[in-house]
Symmetry: C2
Subunit: 481 residues, 2 copies
């Protein structure tokens, strides 16, 4: 059984003594903390329903040497290590496990080099995504991936989870931008994976293996990313519909037509209502669904306009209530900003209704989305719960939020069941249980249902080969394979 907690030393007092006597002297000053309040504040990410207890110490690494020293120590005594970035994840991947060392790289946040001719940037893992975007923009370059957490999540965490976002429908996900990684392995060995060049096939793609590995194979300490020329300013179009099925059918039609939108998001009736309750956005919440689409025409205004018109025509053919677009930059930015406020609006609603929100993340073939909404109505009916949906619809990546009263155990159970029914529906429709949020702790029981036995065997074999003592982020992703 891989992925189990491989702790060789189980007594906290002994562990603490070892940390002070053997680990502390090998770390930079101020890197180590065993203060219970500090540990508590670093023990969890943004996930619900995931245990996060039992951290023994926190290492806030400032150098690669700190990371190596921590893993050498942890490996020698088989102490679990939980790698952490900005702890903005929502699957519990950065949560403490009993008897663990928390290993944060948030202080390793330097941008090391921007290479304009090569269109690449080399950074430490703690750099915040938006800070990276800003830094490379000064050189006329873009780093496209834009998860919802763009303002707070770190590049290391983005790589460790293969983060997505709104731009993926045209510009791809994090893995499409990672050229080279330096990682520290379970025993403290440093390894450089991939190449800094545009192409390279020397050996296995181990770089890719670490992208999305959620801290289970090693700790990422340096990252070279491919960049692209500054993204052109897009036009933004909106269409409203009586129901989600018409919106979903529009998405499938539009994408089948060869369109290349730089954003294609959907918001359901409940989301529109909660947004209007949250702020003065004037969204048409009598509508059953809204699509928000952007086209940058790859830099050509006329092409963008043609694509926008193709979109509105297809929306109208699918019975849209209303369509429109704006050439005004401020209008466009306001619309996208409103979309990005769906999560704060959800939080406000949850706080007023017992505090519970479970955010799901499935990805389907685009053409199956109408069936998904039929299934979701059944989940709503069975659970009796409010479920709001935003989706990166152009990619078939759907985020239903299940709201519940966290003080009512029966409601919590209903919510957990609804959350699971949504994953089941995703699998039934040929999709995946997670499009971009990752497995972490939250979905570890569901991973075996998606992967076939051959794939599960490969996972176990790779994990055992790279982390034979199972000290790296145990109890997460692999725990039930």
């Amino acid at each position: 059984m891989t992925g189990t907690t491989g702790t060789g030393v189980r007594d906290t007092a002994t562990l603490l003594q070892l940390v002070e006597s053997e680990l502390a002297p090998t770390l930079a000053d101020g890197a180590l903390s065993t203060d219970p309040d500090v540990l508590e504040s670093y023990s969890r990410d943004e996930a619900l329903f995931c245990p996060a207890d039992g951290a023994v110490a926190l290492v806030r690494a400032t150098t690669v040497a700190d990371v190596q020293a921590t893993l050498r120590f942890a490996s020698a005594y088989r102490i679990p290590v939980v790698p952490q970035g900005a702890r903005s994840g929502i699957s519990g991947g950065a949560n403490a496990v009993p008897g663990c060392l928390l290993l944060s790289v948030e202080r390793m946040s330097r941008i090391l080099a921007v290479d304009v001719a090569e269109r690449s940037v080399t950074v430490e893992p703690g750099v915040i995504n938006q800070d990276l975007k800003n830094a490379v923009a000064e050189h006329g370059l873009s780093y496209p991936p834009d998860p919802g957490s763009v303002a707070i999540s770190s590049i290391g965490g983005n790589v460790a989870t293969n983060a997505g976002g709104l731009c993926c429908v045209k510009y791809g996900v994090t893995k499409d931008y990672v050229r080279r990684l330096t990682v520290v392995l379970a025993d403290g060995t440093l390894a450089t994976l991939g190449t800094g060049t545009a192409k390279g096939v020397a050996g296995l793609d181990l770089r890719g293996l670490f992208v999305g590995s959620e801290g289970t194979l090693g700790v990422i300490v340096e990252i070279t990313l491919r960049l692209v020329p500054l993204l052109p300013e897009p036009l933004t179009a909106v269409a409203t519909f009586t129901d989600e099925r018409s919106a979903a059918a529009t998405v499938a039609d539009f994408m089948a037509s060869g369109a290349q939108p730089s954003m294609l998001e959907s918001l359901d009736r409940t989301t529109l209502r909660l947004l209007n309750e949250y702020g003065d956005f004037g969204l048409d919440d009598r509508a059953g669904a809204m699509l928000l689409m952007q086209s940058d025409g790859s830099g050509n205004r006329a092409a963008a306009l043609a694509e926008v018109e193709s979109f509105t025509a297809r929306a109208e053919a699918n019975g849209a209530l209303d369509t429109g677009y704006s050439e005004d930059t401020a209008d466009n930015e306001a619309l996208v900003a409103t979309r990005r406020l769906a999560q704060p609006a959800y939080e406000r609603y949850a706080q007023a209704h017992g505090g519970g929100q479970l955010l799901d993340d499935i990805c389907l073939p685009r053409a199956r989305m109408p069936e998904f909404y039929d299934g979701l109505d059944r989940v709503r009916a069975t659970s009796g719960l409010t479920i709001a949906v935003v989706a990166h619809a152009g990619d078939g990546n759907i985020h239903p939020s299940v709201f519940f009263d966290a003080r009512d155990p029966a409601d919590v159970e209903r919510a957990e069941r609804a959350f699971e029914e949504i994953m089941r529906l995703g699998l039934e429709l040929g999709g995946t249980i997670t499009g971009e949020h990752g497995v972490g702790y939250l979905k570890r029981e569901w991973l075996p249902r998606e992967l076939d036995e051959g794939n599960r065997r490969l996972h176990r074999a790779v994990k055992e080969a790279l982390d034979p003592d199972g000290i790296l982020n145990p109890g997460k992703m692999f725990a039930d394979l």
Copy 2:
């Protein structure tokens, strides 16, 4: 030591008897051949200087079951298996090893499904790249990767080597298009890796691990590829220079300006001369270098024209002898066709000069290309050999061809040394020993020089985990790690 020949049965007669008695009954009719002439013709790819002897039998699989049966049998008796596609590779990756079964998937060549809304295609591995392109074009879709072997190489081989081509500078390489793989593991187990959806992060990216794994981890039996809308027709520009350094500097300047050419190739003086000797192309072979650039403006003619003009302006600023472009489709296609004839022209020249040509494949940071040409002049001076160069210059991916008299052992040795000096130069300039041709047999001794010890250890661990008996394509890629 991994990657060694793990043969448990060493006597050919015994092996043949086992093949006939135990393997043959489990295969489709006609799949098995032990005819020496057939074995001889299937024992090698297009590489030079790579051993290719000792194949015991050939399985031409027509179904997944044939592949599974072969690997179950091979695993039980620890018999080496060499997976093969079209055998168009040039690194010896498909060459026979002593006592092996050759396992060809060329007959598994069905296109299983095209999904227009999802923009994906699912194929068997034996489909020829150009046939796939033609089939999806009927649905208004493109599969961009276009290795030089596009007309003869199979998608399975393209995936197994992560093939590149001319379009990569804008459209990426094979790995950027692989969504899902079905593979047969060393013991015959079937595993499905990745997801058919646009996004997905459920578990490790094992799909990516198999892309470029050159038959060392398993046999690819089904592939789902992402497609894009039909590529727009490009404009083509040409610039000639007195020397390669000016051409290389133009490439670095142009790419640093934010350009997005859909092709950016360079041809050196010798290549221009050999092309003119091969056919009536009227290339200016008094020039020391030529750049051939295409821009599709992402579908916008004005943008393409602007990019072409930006290119010619930069070429002139770098002292171009002549620049020009054509809006005529036939002219454009003729120029690209001429570029694609460099290899036949090389072959003609080699045949007339002792038969030897070693084609190298390094990739550098673009800005280091002028230094590379300085170094290459030193290799020319030291070796006294003719070395011609074509390059996917926009990616820094350089293909020097070393010509020699294959009948003269001293010349052969000089050529092998020059070939190695080119790889050494690539590594010194921050590049890789192979941008797109792969390691195979030809470069296995050089792989350890590129990878650091941590990376080598990871390679060994992954190989041991997935192929514990070392039966999959032994003696190749991993042999010297």
